[in-house]
Amino acid sequence: MNIKLKTCASAIALAAAALCAAPAAAQSPRPIKIGFVTELTGPWTFFGTSCVAGLKFATDEINKAGGVLGRPLEFIVTDNQTKSDQALAASRNLDINDKVLALSGPTSSDVALAMYGYAEQQKIPFLVPVAAFPQLTKPGTRYTFRIEPDAAGWGYAMAKYIEQVRPGAKVALMHSDAALMRAIMAGFRYQAPRSKLNIVADIMFPQGSSDATVQAAQVRAATPDYVIVSGAGAFDNVITNQLLDLGIKPQQIIHPFGITTQVFGWGQRSVGSIYGTFFDVGLDSLTPDGKDFIARFDAANNRPPSYVENYCYVTPYIFKEAIEAAGTADDREKLRNAISALNTKERTSGVPIVFDKNGARKEYMYFQEIVSVNGKRNYQSKQRFYIEWDPEVIPVYDLVK
C-alpha cells in the first residue's frame, strides 16, 4: 500500500513538474541552427581556431541584442580535421541529424570544395568565410557564396598596385606549389603583360621545402624591382629572410596576403614591405564597430585580428541580415535568395558585400606597408593602395581549373 501511495505521489509530482515546465519551454524560442564545419585539428588548425574566435564575438553580440527574428542564432561548430572526407561527413550529419538551415565554416579551399559539392547537391545555402579558390563560385553555382575574394584576383590586384607605383617594373615571383599560391600567381601572370610589367624570374617550390638561399641568389642576380613572395606556412618566412639576407631591400618585397602571425614572423626587418589584405589594424576605413572589434579581440587573444577573424566575425551578421530579409528561418531556398540579393556592407570596414550570379563577391583588396613590428604582440601598418574589381575582370575560371 505504501509503495502504491509513493508511486502515485511521484506520478503527481512529475505531472505537476511537466505542467510547470511546459510554459517555460514555450518561452525559450528554438535556435536557428547553422552548421559550422571548420579546421579545429590538422594542418589548418590555426585558421579554423582563429575563425571560430571571430565567429563567437559576433554570435554573442547578435544573441545579446535579441537574436534573429526573435530566435537565438546557434552555430554548431564541428571539426573537419582539415580533411575533405571528414568535412563531407560532418556536413551530412549536420544536414540530416541537426537539420541546420545552412552550412558555413571552412577556411581551407580543399575542404570547402568537398562541402561545395554537398551543398549544391542538397540545395543548402553555404557561406564560405575564408577560402579563396575560384572554382568555389564557378559558373552555375547556386547555393555557395564566397566572402573572400578569389585568389586569382589577388594576383590581378597586385599587378594593378605595381603598375601604379612603378610602371614597367621588373618583377620576380617566388611561391610554394599550393593551390592558393598557384591561383594567385596565375592571376598575376595573366595581368602582368596587360599592366606592362616584366616577369624576370618565376620560381615555384614544392611543399615541404626548407631552404631558398639558392633561389634567392638567382632572383637577386635577375635584379628585379619587386619580388612577390608567397610561401606556404613558415616557408614564407624562410624565403623572406633569405632574400633580405642576400641584400634585397624590404621595400622590394610584396606579399600577396598577410595575417597577423605572418607580419609577426616577417618582423621588424621587414619594415617597408608591402602585403595584401582584406582587413587590418592599419586600414584607413575602419568603422567604430571595426575598431571596437579589434580592441576586444586583441584583449581576449593578445594579438590583433586579421582578415581571417574578420570574415568569420562578419559571417553571422550576413546570416542575420539574410534571414531577416527572407522573413523566415525555416526555408533554405528563401535564405539562398536573400543572400543572393544582399546589398550591405562589412560592419568593421564599410566594404560592400554584394554577390554576383555565381556567389562570388564584388572583390576588393588593400595593400598595407609594414611600419613597425613589436615582437609577437602588435604591429603598425599604413594603407598604400585600395582596389575594387568585378570578379570576372580576368578570366578567373579559365585561369584556375
Binding site: 585539428t41 590538422g42 594542418p43 614544392p206 626548407s210 639558392v214 613558415a234 614564407d236 614572423g265
Partner: protein
C-alpha cells in the same frame, strides 16, 4: 666569374652544407638506434619537431635566449629519452621480430604527439621562429652569410665529426659497433648489451633533438616539418645502409647538395623528386644500401 655567378655558387655551397649536415645528423640518430636496437623510429620527425617547438616555447614564453633554450631542450631531451627507454623501449628488447613491434609502437607515439601538437601549438601559431644566437653577417666576396647560419653549419659539422670519433675510437663506440654486428658475440665478449641498447637509444634520440634545434635556428618552420624530416631521414638511412653511420653522413650531405644543385639547373620541385628517385634506383641495384653497418 661575375658577382652573380659567385653569389649563386656560394649560396649552393652554404645550402648544401647546412641542409646536408642537418639531414646527416638526424639520419645518423635514426640509424644508430636502428642499427643497434633494431628500432625503426617512425616518430623521429615528431622528436625533431618536439625539440624545435620546445626551444620556441623557451624563447617566446619564458624569454630565454636561443642558446639557453637549446641547452634546456638538450637536458630535457636526454631525460625524456631515458624515461621513454625505461617505460617503453626496454620491454621489447628480447621480443622476436621486435623491429615490427617497435615500428608499431613508434607509429602510435607519432599519432599521440601529432594530436598533442595539433591541440596546442597549431592553435597558437602557424609558424615558428627562434631568435638568432648571434647577429651580423660575414661577407664571402659578394655573398653575405648570416653569422647565425654559419654557427649552425659549424656546430652541425662539428657534431658529425665528434660522432664519428666517438663511434670509431671510444670504448662505447666500439661496443656499440660490436652489438651492431653481432649481439650474441658481443655479449660473449663481455659487452653489456642492454646497457648499450639504452645508451644507443638515448644517444640517437638526443642527436635527433639536436637536429631539431639546429634546424629551428636556421629556418622558420611549421608542424609539417615533422613529416618532411621523417621521410628524409628514413630515405637517407635506407640508401646509406641501415645501421651505417658513415652511410648516413655521406648520403645526408649528398642529399643536401643534390637539393641545392638540382634546384639551380632544373627546379626546386625536381630537386625534391631527384633524391627520392635516386633512392629507388639505388635500392634496385643495392637493396641493402650503399654502406655496410
Amino acid at each position: 666569374m661575375t658577382d652573380a655567378q659567385i653569389l649563386i655558387l656560394m649560396s649552393t655551397l652554404s645550402t648544401g652544407l647546412i641542409l646536408g649536415a642537418i639531414f646527416a645528423l638526424v639520419a645518423a640518430g635514426v640509424t644508430i638506434v636502428y642499427g643497434c636496437v633494431w628500432l625503426p623510429n617512425a616518430s623521429n620527425g615528431q622528436f625533431f619537431l618536439l625539440a624545435s617547438l620546445a626551444a620556441w616555447t623557451f624563447t617566446a614564453s619564458f624569454g630565454w635566449t636561443s642558446l639557453a633554450a637549446a641547452a634546456g631542450v638538450l637536458i630535457l631531451g636526454t631525460a625524456l629519452s631515458y624515461l621513454l627507454e625505461w617505460i617503453l623501449i626496454r620491454r621489447l628488447y628480447d621480443t622476436p621480430n621486435r623491429n615490427v613491434a617497435y615500428f608499431v609502437v613508434t607509429l602510435g607515439l607519432t599519432q599521440i604527439m601529432t594530436g598533442i601538437f595539433s591541440l596546442t601549438y597549431a592553435k597558437w601559431s602557424d609558424q615558428f621562429t627562434l631568435p638568432p644566437v648571434i647577429e651580423g653577417i660575414t661577407m664571402f666576396g659578394p655573398f653575405p652569410m648570416p653569422n647565425n647560419r654559419l654557427l649552425v653549419m659549424g656546430v652541425s659539422l662539428l657534431v658529425l665529426v665528434l660522432l664519428f670519433v666517438l663511434l670509431r675510437y671510444h670504448p662505447y663506440g666500439r661496443a656499440l659497433r660490436a652489438v651492431f654486428q653481432n649481439r650474441e658475440a658481443a655479449a660473449l665478449r663481455g659487452v653489456n648489451v642492454r646497457a648499450i641498447y639504452r645508451l644507443s637509444f638515448v644517444l640517437g634520440s638526443v642527436i635527433i633533438f639536436l637536429g631539431g634545434i639546429l634546424f629551428a635556428l636556421a629556418y622558420s618552420y611549421d608542424l609539417t616539418v615533422a613529416w618532411t624530416m621523417s621521410i628524409t631521414a628514413f630515405a637517407i638511412m635506407i640508401i646509406g645502409g641501415p645501421g651505417s653511420v658513415i652511410g648516413a653522413v655521406v648520403v645526408g650531405m649528398t642529399f643536401g647538395f643534390t637539393q641545392a644543385i638540382v634546384s639551380i639547373f632544373a627546379s626546386p620541385t625536381a630537386a625534391t623528386f631527384s633524391y627520392l628517385g635516386a633512392m629507388l634506383l639505388i635500392l634496385l641495384f643495392r637493396p641493402s644500401g650503399l654502406f655496410k653497418r
